[in-house]
Symmetry: C2
Subunit: 356 residues, 2 copies
């Protein structure tokens, strides 16, 4: 990783950054507007679930892709893979039956760097798919102004083998499996490399540039980590509903999850486990709305509603298997208004999460 | 369609054309290079087929997306849908269990035109999915420099419910279900609208500009037509193998199909059924390599190897059900060299196909 980050750094960064800033996921409001009056007119949860012609079986599927946000193409491929699998995992489905890859090769790169970078993204994607116990069997590759990486994940399950995100109850505790702050970490590193003026506004938070690089690596490792263990444990610990935290930030996705529940409830978010160093950057880079819970995450954690007595055992088991922490960050509380919503508590506690 | 084509014409065209010319599918050679040494290192056929944990069942899936090539966003949505379903259809699978949509909204459009255009693409895609007897249940939407439209198609089948493209025999006749020439048709229309200099080189072939518009509409209708009937008939008529003709042209895809067969054989292409008017344009616009069989098609026909006594009855049945012609265009012949290839016959016959 470090080798590649060094030798290819100026390349992928350059294209990645511009696209990550300008491109990104469609803002939630625009997505609602777009879907209004078309098809079901609603933004669904992370996967689509359809009953099959074969009795008792369901096809669970998802597609997700985005623009690179890190320099290292191999790592970026892993992140693209972890990110699309995370949708499946949020339905408590640890087994992915098949993956397809979606790859955009940047026209703005020279041909040889384009090949090196794309091949490394492909390798990274494949390697993580393999680690997840699945395989990439096809896909689509196009030339595009910006590079694109992502894919499709599919699983065929019996009823009872997945958790629809609809059964949260008042009193449930909500567990988050990765720290927040990936977007700010990526940007801080970008400013260090290419935007001295912007970097000057945050450099007093760091004792050295190495510290920013470490912050960035912490975020990369987190984004490339599979949420598979959490998916595996969801049914065992009687999880009621889950989503994963990505482009709309923790509050945006919590809000989607709340509004998708059968029972009347609100989700109150009380804790932000945060990549160490991000808390300070967020005080300056207020445009990202990190403190409002709206800063985008890439390949973020699962956000899982569990019966109150199951939340801590669930966390302990993830720690035991993966060696990674998870946190109780929210609670399902009685509904205040006319529809289910998520909101931040009056005083959100920020926990600084150290790199593993 | 005509209404929208008129009112939105300058918008989608502008973005579509540039991307259709500059973007497009990765050239076949580059794709081979990219995949070399990564994963299986080979360019697969149109779908991926994986055995499921459930005994006797297979998951057949494909993803395909591209940049708009026609002005009318509703039609473009239909074409994107027909194109991805066509991959499934080429495996003799007429039933699609689920679709996901892949949508890129162009950053280079103003917000309100972007919304109108994207919504119409979405509607077109959904409407054709519905006509195909399936449903779009999710997808991914991003902001991108160029608009993108496409999707994912999936089907869960028992063994015997699909046709792997591996069993062609020497003596098989090959049927094509749509005429060739869509790329040249789209370009001729583009030249008429935005490139007078280029249009001047072909205008003597047409009695009026209306004739170019009709040619273009003929191509649009063809690209938006589902190959579902052919898929439905493949098993009944004992089809041995099939592919669909898209970005690599008829020769490119025939070559892929030939090299994918278990038996030693070559595919000799003898006939180009061609949208009427394209034959003439191809004599001037030689860069498209239409006469070499390498001009890209969008959402082209199925190219199906059938036992010799089944080819004409198959064609007759498509004509009876869809009211559309199909043609015997090639034959599987004994292999000449060391590996299976496709080639053009010495004198390829061009058949002018009238608009329906």
């Amino acid at each position: 990783m470090v080798f590649l980050a060094t030798c290819l750094e100026p390349k992928l960064t350059c294209f990645a950054f511009r696209s990550a800033v300008l491109g990104c996921k469609l803002p939630q409001k625009q997505l609602f507007d777009l879907l209004e009056g078309v098809a079901s007119g609603k933004v669904g949860m992370d996967c689509s679930v359809v009953p099959l012609r074969q009795p008792g079986l369901f096809l669970i599927s998802t597609t997700d892709f985005f623009y690179p946000s890190v320099d290292d193409p191999y790592f970026q491929g892993q992140i693209g893979c972890a990110n699309v699998l995370s949708d499946l995992y949020s339905f408590g489905v640890p087994e992915c039956d098949n993956m397809l890859m979606i790859l955009g090769l940047s026209r703005e790169m020279g041909e040889s760097e384009r090949m090196i970078v794309s091949k490394e993204m492909l390798r990274g994607f494949n390697s993580l798919a393999s680690k997840a116990g699945t395989e990439v069997t096809g896909g689509q590759t196009v030339l595009n102004p910006w590079p694109i990486i992502g894919g499709v994940a599919m699983s065929v399950c019996s009823a009872g083998e997945f958790v629809l995100p609809v059964n949260a109850k008042v009193g449930d505790l909500v567990v988050l499996t990765k720290p927040l702050g990936t977007q700010l970490a990526v940007n801080a590193h970008q400013w260090l490399k290419t935007n001295p003026q912007r970097y000057d506004t945050i450099k007093h938070f760091f004792s050295s540039e190495d510290e920013v690089v470490r912050l960035y690596h912490h975020a990369m490792v987190s984004m490339a980590r599979l949420n598979k263990t959490a998916a595996h444990l969801m049914r065992r610990f009687n999880a009621h509903a889950a989503t994963d935290i990505t482009g709309f930030g923790i509050l945006g996705h919590a809000n989607n999850l709340a509004s998708n529940q059968s029972e009347a409830l609100d989700i109150e978010i009380r804790t932000f486990p945060t990549i160490k160093g991000i808390r300070e950057i967020a005080t300056i880079a207020t445009g990202f709305k990190f403190n409002e819970g709206l800063s985008a995450e890439t390949s973020g954690g699962l956000f899982i509603c569990l019966p109150p007595d199951q939340a801590q055992p669930f966390i302990d088991e993830i720690q035991r298997i993966d060696g990674c922490p998870a946190w109780i960050v929210a609670e399902c509380v009685p509904r205040k208004g006319e529809k289910n919503v998520a909101r931040l508590a009056q005083n959100v506690t920020i926990i600084d999460v150290e790199a593993p």
